[in-house]
Symmetry: C2
Subunit: 449 residues, 2 copies
């Protein structure tokens, strides 16, 4: 009985010890009871050689189920150790078509073609070559070909026999689709209806027609929004004529939803690539350096701007540079984040964008007034000169309002030009607001002091 497993460091040490003494039988016995998702996690927590050893001694179906759960880097390592024939026979032929395609897509063009020639199961070969023809960012690229379909004109007895036959080749039956003679999707046969109806009922009379489907060329994010909105566990994919092509299951979409939310978060935090905390130093550095360089360019520009003003005779102005810069950045990021999430969740209709700007101006004004009153009193109490206090207070109000509007506007413009609006949050907007904040602050300061 497969169970969920708590992977402790004690357990990992036991496994390491067994590997060192090459106790193959004992290891196989342990792993027999472990879910592939857990085996993958164990392998990721062992060193490369130990992981490779485990992967090699796994029974073929289990190693196929495990490899699709592994992190890309480790998976690629394992694949590079296998011949095209091994990949075809031990992995590809044991997997459902969508997972098989994920593996094949990771290979070089040359190795991919070799693997294809070794696939003996004709229907798997056809499924894979068909799936490879779709753009990976579309519904077609997400779908699997395995599904159960019955013809509306069949009798119940025919259907049951056919369903049994089809189910034997499929791991998990999600839904039974009903098609016409031309493979056009008509509806589905729900498990509930199947259970509730008597055996003699004709298929046509128990068809559930309110079925939501997606066209093969629609984007991943459309698929995710549809499945999420309508609470669907499986979504049929059709071509432009409604011919049934395949189906997408929710687990593939969850990964996408999660990655998408994480990507926004990483962008907002100034990390440019998809990295994980376990990646190596050079990958981590490469993902972070671009944003730091933007920050440096901003800092150097800031130095030049400050240099333009007569700081020598108004050196107290320097005291509040950090305050002005920080507040501009904070407000800008807040405004941008709200817009980015609104866009991601599809609850920003383009017809209410002007409302949005007005509201954002209102929020900026309110926050700005509150903050500038606080700062005026605090600076006076702390003994800064009245002129400086007034300068800081007025500058802060202007910077906050400006940053709020700017932070709202930039992601909307990026989105309109089909650039990921999340780019606008994080270091980019902080840097721009820093600079604009400095210009506003010193201009007001120069005028007042």
């Amino acid at each position: 009985m497969l169970k969920k497993l708590e992977i402790t460091s004690k357990f990992l040490k036991q496994v390491s010890t067994l590997i060192k003494s090459r106790e193959q039988a004992a290891i196989i016995k342990i792993f027999l009871e472990i879910h592939p998702a857990d085996i993958a996690e164990i392998i990721e927590n062992l060193n490369d050689d130990e992981g490779q050893y485990i992967f090699e001694i796994l029974e073929s179906q289990k190693s196929a189920d495990t490899i699709i759960e592994l992190e890309d880097e480790i998976r690629d390592n394992f694949l590079s150790e296998l011949s095209p024939k091994e990949i075809a026979e031990d992995l590809i032929e044991k997997l459902e078509s969508d997972d098989a395609v994920d593996i094949i897509s990771d290979l070089s063009e040359d190795k991919k073609n070799k693997v294809l020639t070794y696939i003996e199961d004709k229907s798997q070969y056809n499924n894979i070559t068909d799936l490879l023809s779709y753009d990976t960012n579309t519904a077609g690229g997400l779908m699997a070909k395995e599904l159960i379909k019955v013809n509306e004109n069949w009798s119940t007895v025919e259907c049951l026999a056919e369903m049994r036959k089809q189910a034997k080749r499929i791991k998990k039956v999600h839904t039974i689709y009903i098609i016409d003679n031309n493979n056009i999707l008509l509806g589905l046969l729900s498990l509930r209806n199947l259970l509730v109806s008597e055996k003699s009922t004709p298929i046509k009379s128990i068809i559930k027609k309110d079925i939501i489907s997606v066209k093969s060329y629609e984007k991943k994010e459309v698929v995710a929004n549809i499945m999420n909105k309508y609470d669907l566990v499986v979504l049929p994919v059709v071509d432009k004529n409604n011919k049934l092509l395949g189906r997408i299951t929710i687990d593939d979409v969850i990964d996408y939803v999660k990655e998408d939310a994480e990507k926004d978060y990483q962008m907002a935090s100034g990390i440019s690539e998809d990295i994980e905390s376990n990646d190596n130093i050079f990958e981590l550095t490469r993902a972070r350096l671009p944003w730091l360089i933007i920050g440096m360019v901003g800092g150097i520009l800031g130095a030049k701007i400050i240099g333009v003003f007569d700081l020598e005779n108004n050196f107290e102005l320097a005291f509040f540079i950090p305050l002005i810069a920080a507040m501009g950045g904070n407000v800008g990021v807040q405004s941008a984040a709200i817009v980015v999430q609104g866009l991601a969740n599809n609850n920003l209709q383009s017809n209410n964008i002007s409302n949005k700007l007005i509201r954002e101006f209102g929020v900026g004004l309110l926050n700005g007034i509150i903050c500038s009153i606080i700062i005026l009193f605090v600076t006076i109490i702390l003994g800064f000169s009245f002129a400086l206090s007034i300068t800081v207070s007025i500058s802060l109000l202007s910077v906050i309002i400006f940053a709020a509007i700017f932070g709202t506007f930039i992601p909307l413009i990026l989105n309109k030009n089909n650039i990921d609006p999340a780019l606008a949050t994080g270091p980019f907007i902080t840097t721009v607001n820093d600079i604009l904040g400095l210009i506003i602050y010193f201009s007001i300061g120069q005028a007042i002091l």
Copy 2:
């Protein structure tokens, strides 16, 4: 046939016009064909009175299905217009137990008790009072009671009859659970096995025993991790003796996964409450002001720190205040974000935290060296004095390394003390790094200049 719907502003205007002329029949006809999730979205895009009108004329099952899809605020408005009797009869009795509990939990204690007295369906009443006893943050709080279960000792004929009976009361059949005489969960009867086996097969022989379940007291996030990791669409909930209590479906968990990722993003962006871009100005202001005040406190501290040093005679030091502050903040947020995501995805084992700190130090060192070399050359080329260039370069190196370590450490410490580590990203860490960066910069500057 229900279809997915593109909600355009043209369509919304048509609906508004129909509402104005009170064309009830026409409206009902339109909404007959629309999915409750879309009706909810339409209501959210109309004004309050129009939304209320639509909700009132919907047929009862449809209004029940729609209300669970609505945003909290609008839902609460609608509920406040209904009497306890209407809520019980028109909504609660038409919903599955988990959704019914969501509605009831939104009511005041007083109204809740009144609604309960009006629930006539005995089994729904029992389901709801049972579910209300669980903590909403646990598996018990997420589950629904509706499920199909059969006894391992039953004959196939008995099972099919019983399954049909149970299925009639349930909207969507996900899985059929197999229990013993004491209601202990033994396994499940997969649709696939049901299809593949002959009618005379005894239940016991086709039981699928490798079933993953969750205890009712386990936390929401544990549930989400399990369903995500093992690609589960439905997860049975048991008590500590493995008695079957209910089941959780993936759609409830997706919402949670999404909200959780969004919450981290909002925190990183300095937004303290769950708000949406459509909320009103005061809610938006309240969610953002706390972080701005933290930023102001940091800015004032920064002013005091700069005041301590002899800026008057070294006023050029002020030129690079924005650079140092920005870089400290950027690096700190990057480091913290990686740790926060690692913690959220459960791939940070506590046994490799020291590795993590060493690696983060390495990344900081590498980024720091690259940035400080670049800044040294650029400042010299731009004509800043050599002493100032050296000061900025050394300070930048120190600040980057320090911020990287600090950014890694803080979320780990927060997490260890059961505080949400996402608090560490965003304005908090930026502000702290600003101040520390200033101290490092001016100390080095004072020593060199």
